[in-house]
Symmetry: C2
Subunit: 158 residues, 2 copies
């Protein structure tokens, strides 16, 4: 809402693209303009986007290609998919590109907001999760922590 269609080519953006390029190259994929635009769209938002969101930001991207590229980028560890249950899935840049955070998920309208926790809490959490994972012979990759409830707007309408 407050972001331009394309990010300015600042330092952060350069780093980001270098990173994505490396990840794609590792798996013998090309960093095409379409993928570039997709990454820019995700980078330009402070919250996870749905496919309609993405296409609204970059109207010349074909929906099917966006889905295909989200899949490729997900497998390269550049994009993370967030299943909200109802209707469209949400997508955001993955961990190395976005600092570790969690989500406030509105159960009424499906809106998703980013939030961060103290390192102290995160550390404790990881510690305990690693413990229970080990107990189940489960190899942990990452955790996701969401707070479900009503956003300010929906709570007002109830």
């Amino acid at each position: 809402m407050e972001n331009p269609t394309t990010s300015p080519p600042d330092e952060k953006s350069l780093d980001r693209h270098a990173f994505v390029l490396k990840r794609l190259s590792n798996k013998n994929h090309r960093y095409t303009t379409g993928r570039h635009r997709l990454v820019d769209a995700l980078a330009g938002s402070d919250k996870p986007l749905t496919l309609p969101d993405i296409v609204a930001i970059a109207p010349d991207l074909a929906a099917s290609s966006v889905y295909r590229n989200l899949e490729v980028l997900e497998q390269c560890g550049v994009v993370k998919r967030i299943a909200s249950g109802r209707d469209h899935a949400h997508f955001e840049l993955a961990e190395p590109l976005l600092s570790h955070h969690h989500h406030l998920v509105c159960t009424e309208c499906g809106a998703i907001e980013d939030v961060r926790l103290d390192d102290e809490v995160e550390e404790l959490l990881d510690q305990r999760l690693n413990l229970v994972a080990a107990r189940a012979s489960f190899k942990p990759l990452h955790h996701s922590l969401d707070l479900h409830g009503h956003c300010a707007n929906c709570e007002g309408l109830l």
Copy 2:
């Protein structure tokens, strides 16, 4: 896998059904045999079930009715939906019927396992989450914490 199709009518089961009945009545819904069977199916598993899982356990339940009833039970706070992203959603009994727990989600095969954390950690977590929620004027209802990674089986195959 290790559970019978219907739970024995032990004390726990009686409590459970009394609870579900009350929740349904509150919203002027009936506790029909189909819903009874559905709750039994979910109660008889130690992990969240997909629709195919449920229909496999209770083959005489019509898929459409199961979906409708899962929805009703979800709105009554009896069932919780877990969006796994890929393919089918998973369903489990909600908090008052199942003690608070989290999930180990296998990113390879989609399997979900239940795990529990210390009360101490849970308390700290809720405390911090309430804090960030308040900051965003967000009314918290519950949190979900999943650990994503590879289950023992998939890790073996990789």
